[in-house]
């Protein structure tokens, strides 16, 4: 009886090591503040830990399952505080360019940060899931509850908006 439990625990530990930073980055991008992001990230891992025995690999990857849990927790948090509107246009604290970056690089990355922060919440979430989470389109589809093709289309549209925003005159 202990063997499966140990296997599950080991598997959860590996999942944590593999995805903790990516998950936090996704949640932080979605919520826009550190405190909420930390709470939601911790809550997501805790829920995943409690429900780890219910994970069914026939329904998707473990990483996609974890991001799905985190997404639900993050959306619940957004609902609690009253929609995502205040987040649009908010710039996270780390938007200030790092002093060691090259000037051009710093300008470019600042532009990207601002453009990403200015995206609608849905697009910003897609970019975060794709770039920070590293989810495949199939995993994205499972998390968003849509088809893989639709997930790919939505990612492309979001990235196109981001690129356009990056090229827009300041």
């Amino acid at each position: 009886m202990d063997a499966p439990q140990n296997t599950t625990t080991t598997s959860f530990d590996a999942l944590y090591r593999d995805s903790a930073r990516d998950l936090y980055a996704y949640v932080r991008t979605l919520l826009g503040d550190d405190a909420s992001a930390e709470d939601v990230t911790a809550l997501a891992f805790e829920r995943a830990y409690r429900r780890r025995s219910s994970f069914d690999d026939r329904r998707g990857s473990q990483r996609g399952w974890l991001f799905g849990i985190a997404r639900n927790a993050a959306l619940d948090e957004l609902r609690r505080r009253g929609r995502a509107a205040p987040l649009i246009g908010e710039l996270p604290d780390e938007l200030a360019p790092a002093p060691e970056e090259e000037a051009d690089l710093a300008v470019r990355r600042t532009t990207v940060r601002v453009a990403l922060a200015a995206l609608p919440a849905r697009d910003r979430e897609l970019v975060a899931l794709k770039f920070h989470g590293g989810l495949s389109n199939a995993e994205l589809a499972a998390v968003l509850g849509t088809s893989e093709t639709n997930a790919g289309t939505r990612v492309h549209r979001a990235v196109a908006k981001l690129r356009k925003a990056c090229h827009a005159p300041a």
Binding site: Y24, T41, A42, G82, V127, H156
Partner: protein
Amino acid sequence: MRQRDPLTLEEARELDALERALAGEPVDADLHELEALVDDIRATAPQMSPGFAARLEHEVEEGFPASQEQPARRPSRRWVLIPAAGTLAAVLVALVVVLGQSGSDDSAPGIANTLQERGAEDSAQTSGRASKPASPSAATESAPSGGGASATADPARAPALSAAPPPRTPAPPVTKSGQPRRVQRTADLVLRVPTAKLESTADGVNSTADRFGGIVAASTVNVDDSTGGEASFDLRIPTQRLDDALAALSKLGHVAERRQGLVDITGSFESAQDRLSDARAERRGLLRALGRASTKAQIDSLRARLRTVRSQIARLNGDLEALRRRADLSSVSVVVRGGATNDDGDSGSGGDWTPGDAARDALRVLEVIAGVALIALAVMAPLALLAAVVALAVRAQRRRRREGALDPA
């Protein structure tokens, strides 16, 4: 909002390039911008603070001991209660239906039968208390005034009736003149027996009639393996032994049907008696007149009238005797039907519970269980479907609300 427009070829190429850039693979020269975008976004990814990272690491290692939410709470399964409640309701309904049917099969005719018999009995007892009959002989079996009464055994009651004695004849009431009432009793009996036992049962009917001093007025026996065969008997049984005879006949097979009738013939009997008395008085008067007659014409006339009165007396005596015989001997019609089973599946062995009966009872129980299960399924299936639809709707609604958090206010 979902965008369902398919990607163009160029867009598909860009998406493919994005996937390769994310995977660290080279992309086409005109799409190097995507590589830079991936680098920039990843480079600017929010990072966990060291304090939170350490705290989370500790939580994971400890298995989240200080839980923020209730530990290991199973997802709500209250919707499962809907089909369960449906099943329970269906079983209750089925039980009510089954019990109701068995009640209507067994109880209702029994009550009706009892009421019929009790009505006759009460009437007889009331009359009996008012004026005790001197000698309720067989020839003076009585019935309540006003005609006949009947007791009918329904086939559904047959198993019980085959073991129980037939209803007893009520105590004879009397007429206003104190004479016992004259009744003619009839009985119809339908027995079911296995075809193989048809002839032996027919013999049993004959011997039973002999045993109780009765006669077989008519009988036919027709044995047919395909239809089971049938034997019918028209018996005359002394009325005083009718009840015992019916009980003995009922033991010969499975009683599928039994009727008993009472016809009050007191009026006819007394009328015949009165007419006979009048005729005898007239004869006595004619004889006296004949003794006083002096002319041949008077003598011839009186003798002619005497002949007429004598024949009238003889006819009335015959009528009276026939009425007495109707009261003395009850008419019993017995039909014995051969066959494998009766309506209830009983073999008609006359009350012995055999392994065959047990098998049939078991089959019947299984049929009832299957019926209950079918009704339960009929009730549960729509409820389960409804529950599934509601669950899907709730799930979709919850998802929609969550997704709504991403929409601008």
